[in-house]
Symmetry: C2
Subunit: 193 residues, 2 copies
């Protein structure tokens, strides 16, 4: 249990056996069925979720009622509405499972205790957020500076697994496009050459 979580943790910040045991006491496992919510509209986000297995997405609903995906999380990724989690304000994002999933949850109380008690946890979190920040910055830059086709190519080379496992209309949503447009872009990119 928690194999992937600790594998990744140890890669970033090597832990002693005791440290690992201490951390374990603060974690909660959770299984989600496809389409089940981890976080619903307006709820307060109570957890940071690490994905051991399966896939989730976070998204907002725009005024037209369309789902706009802000993030995917496959195995090894972490997902949460961080603002809501940290401030206790109602969430702006929704999170649900796009495949049956197994999660490792860290509650707010656990998070705070861990920051106090285990210095390496703070380091882990710092590195984790730094990575997420850099990934987000890269994504934003590609949105404002690259033509759509390049963005799609980038996505397929950077995250091939996502493109393979996730339905295309979700990729379209994630890219801020309609499914029709993405389908045509794919035709151009994949089709010829």
């Amino acid at each position: 249990m928690y194999e992937l979580f600790f594998q990744q943790f140890n890669e970033k910040v090597p832990l002693t056996a005791e440290e690992q045991e201490t951390i374990k006491t603060f974690l909660t496992p959770k299984k989600l069925r496809k389409k089940q919510y981890l976080l619903q509209e307006g709820d307060i986000c109570k957890y940071i979720a690490f994905v051991e297995k399966g896939a989730l997405k976070s998204y907002v609903i725009d005024e037209a009622g369309t789902e706009r995906i802000t993030q995917f999380a496959l195995e090894g990724w972490t997902i949460s509405d961080l603002y809501s989690f940290l401030t206790g304000e109602p969430a702006t994002y929704l999170i649900d499972a796009i495949e049956d999933a197994e999660l490792v949850l860290i509650s707010k109380a656990a998070h705070e205790e861990l920051l106090q008690q285990v210095p390496k946890y703070e380091t882990y979190i710092r590195l984790q957020i730094t990575g997420a920040y850099i990934a987000l910055q890269r994504r934003l830059t590609s949105i404002i500076s690259l033509p759509i086709e390049e963005r799609y190519k980038n996505l397929t080379t950077l995250y091939p697994t996502i493109v393979q496992r996730v339905p295309q209309h979700m990729i379209a949503s994630y890219m801020g496009l309609t499914p029709e447009t993405l389908s045509r872009v794919r035709g151009r990119v994949t089709g010829r050459k």
Copy 2:
């Protein structure tokens, strides 16, 4: 010297006088004239820069040779090419001053020493990046889920100072629009009502 830097630091993580002195020894002041570079195409990013005074921007140049602004940094903000800074890879962003500026620089060596020696520095950095991450996420969400006019309104309410101090064509670049389009959007938003 470093007033704003330490003011903000103390707001996030209160420091003792000694801690503050220790940190001071790792900081370097730097002044930049308008249009001067802090970081040029392909260089390795050697510093995290905190803005005490003035304004900078970071950007990329797209294939058409157009500047695409990824971030503004006014007083109290921090700017860097974090990926380049952390990995030592050549920078993907350029950074220059849009107004004469006074900076507080933290070099890579200083950063690493501070992480080792001053636990509160790690906390500061963690909080700093967390804030930046949340801001970036919010921006990305507004890009993929809101119509342009709402995005502009959001920007003016969230960062009125930026909209006031920065030339409009830079705001356009930051929003991924042409100056003409932003001008028309403004006409619609500001003009009527």
